[in-house]
């Protein structure tokens, strides 16, 4: 089954959607404000004679006129990190604050994790977790190059994540039992990355998608359990599939004490509301407060983001 054909009927301006899915993504970098400034990073690109354009809705993002920043001085210095524009939405929606304790359940290779760390001004703690040791080494390498001191890395299955390493002994004042905010950037069928990986169109199967929705649900459920009441959980994927997005969020609304928050994306960034029904299945009305991003809206990849508040 073709994932684009499957989703096209619910997308406004279907032909623009199909056209955008065929275009290659531009090369985008995020300025790492832990080690640099926007001005400094731009001066470095000028020194390398690389043309760039600032993303109008996010001054920390620069679109380069050439692919890949890997062999450049500002990359070596850890001033830049290659990151797809749309994937910065997760950390922006999470809005982590300096000094807070944050968990990123599926962190590797770490673009969103290191973005969170930078939004925290490298203060407090963000725990980057991943169950895949090989991918964790990429997260470690990125974190070190970006110079982060507020990142701890764990290797657990996010579905039954244990906070024990951070609890300490019962009389310790420095341990903690819950996180202020948790990011679940869930493993998904990745059909939204079609502009980066055109092969996904041939490789995508409904069977595979169905096999991961239970994992997504379990990770999101555990994330809510690990969050302080009043705290925030962000659920995001790079999939268009309602089964992996609205249905997963709808499931936790009935199972656990949480609600969907209204959240406004940055000015100038276009999204559309989440679906409240799909293939005959009805979802809670509040799912319309989640956000879908289609490639033709902002010339990015596809994305889904839901912001939840834990209520008890």
């Amino acid at each position: 089954m073709d994932p684009i054909d499957r989703i096209a009927p619910i997308v406004d301006n279907e032909s623009a959607f199909r056209q955008a899915c065929k275009r290659r993504l531009p090369s985008v970098v995020r300025v790492n404000t832990v080690k640099s400034t926007i001005r400094q990073a731009k001066a470095a690109l000028d020194a390398e004679s690389i043309d760039y354009e600032t993303v109008d809705w996010n001054p920390r993002l620069l679109i380069l006129d050439k692919q890949g920043p890997g062999n450049l001085w500002p990359y070596f210095h850890g001033w830049l990190h290659g990151q797809e524009e749309v994937s910065t939405l997760s950390a922006i929606a999470l809005n982590p604050q300096p000094g807070e304790r944050i968990l990123d359940t599926c962190a590797a290779p770490g673009s969103k994790t290191t973005h969170c760390a930078a939004l925290m001004n490298d203060r407090g703690l963000i725990v980057g977790n991943d169950n895949n040791l090989g991918r964790l080494s990429a997260l470690r390498a990125n974190a070190e190059r970006l110079g982060l001191t507020n990142l701890a890395i764990t290797n657990q299955d996010a579905r039954n994540y244990s906070i024990k390493p951070f609890q300490g002994t019962s009389n310790a004042s420095d341990g903690f039992e819950t996180f202020d905010r948790v990011l679940v950037d869930a493993p998904c069928s990745c059909d939204g990355t079609i502009r980066k990986n055109p092969d996904v169109r041939e490789q995508w199967t409904k069977k595979h998608m169905n096999s991961i929705t239970h994992i997504q649900q379990s990770i999101l459920q555990r994330a809510i359990q690990l969050t302080t009441p009043g705290g925030r959980v962000v659920y995001s994927t790079c999939s268009f599939s309602p089964e992996e997005n609205e249905a997963v969020v709808d499931n936790v609304l009935t199972e656990l004490p949480c609600q969907i928050m209204t959240w406004k994306p940055p000015n100038g960034f276009e999204t559309t509301q989440g679906e409240t029904q799909w293939n005959g299945e009805m979802f809670d009305d509040s799912l319309q407060n989640t956000h879908r991003v289609y490639p033709h809206y902002n010339d990015t990849g596809g994305f889904f983001v839901a912001v939840l508040e834990v209520t008890a």
Binding site: K35, L72, W73, R101, A152, I153, N155, A172
Partner: protein, 181 residues
Amino acid sequence: MKNRRSSESSEQSQSNDGHQFDRLPANADTRVVDQRPTRKEVIHWWKDTYGIKLSVWDQFTFWEKGNGKLWVCADNLPAPMEIEALGLRILRTRQNHWKPSTNAVQRFGHLATKRRITLTRKEAEQFVAGNDQSLPCWDGEWGYLIVEHEYAGISAPIGVGLYLHGELRSTVPKTRQIPLS
């Protein structure tokens, strides 16, 4: 059963458990683990060696994992901690000459007031490629220097060079070496 940080920690010294992160003791009086560097030694080492002010480290905690590998963390957390990584690996100790990491110098090297050496663009490219080079320009004390270059309007620390006998040896890790020229 590990119980290295219990409140009734023994007067007897313990050996380092390289599999877990443990906090550095504040000073020699509170040291429990054999030869573990203390926080006081570490921050004074940065001041004495590179002129980095003691107050720079006020908001950070120091940890050891592995044999003499020190890490710096922005948060105050319970110890010991059995996790994969905690903050930034900054210093190799438990040997005659302590060695700062490339990433530590890139993050904190701009705060140093001594033992900084500036390379030309070509020399800097050689350094990042991992090549040792003859550079008879340093007349200070031999040892680990903060290597930097004038780049995009600032003095930007690149990494750590070992200066001996008129030669600057690159310690940029293989995984960080890239062809820039």
